[in-house]
Amino acid sequence: MLLWRGSIDMTSATSAKRIDDNKNKSDRANREGLRGWLNPIIYGWERVSYWFQRLTGIFLLVYFIGHVYETSSLVSGPDAWAAMLEMTQTIGGHIFLILVIGASTFHTINGIRLIFTHSGQGLGTPGRPDYPYDPTSVNNKQRSGLWIAFILAAVAMLYGANVLFSGGE
């Protein structure tokens, strides 16, 4: 509720500005901001999907920039290339690459699901809102798409780990 706290000798323009300021403050108090964006608890698996899609996207963008920089060492000759490659030949480097494989697989599969969802596919038909008010759009098709993304990401990570830790044979 908005309360006017202006004095009696204020001009109408000043008092209107005061009311606006109070309104903005109360709007800001209701904003969850980044905490609301990150909260996976009350919104279910769909929020987890939303979260992972963005986090894997940012991670892959960072990797992409690093990869472009890494491959630029080619132009400095074989020694520079070997030195840069050494960084990925450690256990830490292997784990990082396995995470890249998992992130790219999840981002791809979940991204394909989202393209279909944004074009209206697999959302179900609208129905009467009955208790317990589960939205038809959050259905098993959507959830199974998400689980397939997680499972394929795990399989790809296992395959990547096998290639990297077996010495690249």
Binding site: I65, V68, Y69, T71, L74, V75, S104, I115, G168, E169
Partner: protein, 141 residues
């Protein structure tokens, strides 16, 4: 429909478009999302070929300097790498733009984010293209 309603509709339509550097509208958000999806599907195919090129021989051998340089000297593979560079740069930096615009919505922030991602996108494409051109054997003079 009253003239007020017409005005509101006009404003609503304006709000669904992106104003990049000034009040001039260059491209609609819906079109940007189409580009986002098209670059995603395109990148999926070219990155799949790029990874397969690493797996058709033992992984360590495929990363040897001579082998990688041979890959770059193949014009078709160089074009594939250039397309990966462009598609992922557009998709990745637009994705970053979408995330940043979800966090905050002011005109200054929106313009700043748009300028930042375009500059970063051009920068990374230019830097990657330089590597491809030099490794391919052409001289930049």
């Amino acid at each position: 429909m009253t003239s007020d309603n017409t005005g509101n509709n006009r404003n609503k339509n304006k709000n669904t478009t992106t104003k990049w550097f000034s009040n001039v509208t260059l491209i609609r958000e819906s079109q940007i999302m189409k580009i986002h999806y098209i670059t995603a599907v395109g990148a999926l195919f070219v990155v799949a070929i790029h990874i397969m090129m690493r797996l058709i021989m033992p992984f360590n051998m495929s990363l040897e300097f001579e082998n990688v340089i041979l890959n770059y000297k193949n014009v078709f593979y160089a074009l594939l790498l250039e397309s990966i560079l462009i598609l992922i740069a557009i998709h990745g930096f637009n994705g970053l733009r979408v995330i940043l615009l979800e966090i905050r919505q002011t005109q200054i922030w929106e313009r700043g984010v748009n300028i930042l991602v375009i500059v970063a996108m051009i920068g990374i494409i230019a830097y990657g293209t330089r590597t491809i051109i030099i490794a391919n054997g052409f001289s930049l003079g």
